[in-house]
């Protein structure tokens, strides 16, 4: 006979956390597919070289101004699709450039696979260890600010080695953010799966783009 499940006070937050985690991963999977679709469309349409910049401005505008207002409603899901769709569109010209290299498709697939392995390994580690990585917050944000200041200087200095160092630093910082964001979800620090999805998506996006850049420059061809 089916009995109604009685929830104790400690079970309720665990169930809530599991629900946030499940919803986050589900939305993340769908938005990654959507992003791949918009990237494919952008590649087929041969979007111009300024598209990544325009798409990033648009996505940042959505993240800063629209997401905070809609994150607690169903409209927030539409905003997440807007952000990820725009960032996918921005990837098109870059991917087309890589495909013109002799080993371009191999670089893209390696970068995609590598990003997937890094994400699964770090998320799995945070989930199984159930550690609280909230102490990393200050270090990660300081790292991000330093990377931005260096990137700003490098726009004018244009030092290739510095670009590579920046890419490597971004991969490390975003890996840290995967641990930080996942631990916030499992420890109840983040109860909104829409915000959690955007955080994890941005980490994945940045790891993919910068890994591709590192592989592109340092590959034998």
């Amino acid at each position: 006979m089916n009995r109604p499940v009685e929830l104790t006070q400690t079970q309720t937050p665990v169930l809530e956390t599991n629900k946030v985690l499940k919803n986050t991963y589900a939305l993340l999977s769908v938005t990654l597919l959507f992003s791949a679709l918009t990237a494919f469309i952008s590649m087929q349409m041969e979007m111009p070289g300024y598209m990544p910049l325009v798409a990033t401005f648009g996505a940042i505008g959505l993240i800063w101004f629209l997401l905070p207002r809609t994150a607690n409603s169903a409209a927030g899901i539409g905003v997440v699709f807007g952000i990820t769709g725009l960032l996918g569109l921005g990837l098109g010209p870059m991917l087309n450039n890589y495909l013109q290299m002799s080993n371009g498709s191999q670089l893209i697939m390696t970068s995609l696979g590598g990003t997937g392995v890094i994400f699964l390994a770090l998320s799995g580690y945070a989930l199984t260890s159930r550690r609280d990585f909230s102490f990393m917050g200050g270090m990660l944000i300081v790292g991000m600010v330093l990377v931005l200041i260096t990137a700003l200087a490098n726009i004018f200095m244009a030092i290739p080695a510095l670009s590579l160092a920046l890419s490597a630093a971004i991969i490390l910082i975003m890996s840290g953010f995967i641990l930080y964001d996942t631990s916030r979800i499992i420890n109840g620090g983040e109860r909104n799966y829409i915000i959690a999805t955007v955080g994890l998506y941005l980490s994945l996006y940045n790891i993919f783009v910068n890994l591709l850049m590192l592989l592109g420059v340092l590959s034998d061809d």
Binding site: G49, Y50, L53, T56, F57, I60, W64, N103, Q106, L107, T110, S111, G114, V117, I118, A121, L122, Y125, S129, R131, D132, F133, S134, F135, M136, G137, G138, M139, I141, V142, M144, V145, L148, I149, A151, L152, I155, F156, A168, I171, L172, S175, G176, L179, L211, L214, L215, L218, S219, D220
Partner: protein, 59 residues
């Protein structure tokens, strides 16, 4: 200098303006990690570096 560079720089400046006050808050309010906590972060990050190095060698 082309306009792409100018807009890229503008984008980064905007990000910094947005991030700096939040960075100050996070530094102030982040809990302190023990040596064990930092070790638990360092090991996976070192593995990520090793993995990226392996990927670079493979292409």
């Amino acid at each position: 200098m082309d306009w792409m560079k100018i807009f890229s720089a503008l984008l980064i400046v905007l990000m910094l303006v947005y991030l700096l006050p939040r960075a100050k808050d996070m530094i102030k309010n982040s809990p302190k990690g023990s040596n064990n906590d930092w070790l638990a972060v360092l090991i996976p990050l070192i593995l990520v570096i090793g993995f990226v190095f392996l990927l670079i060698k493979s292409v």
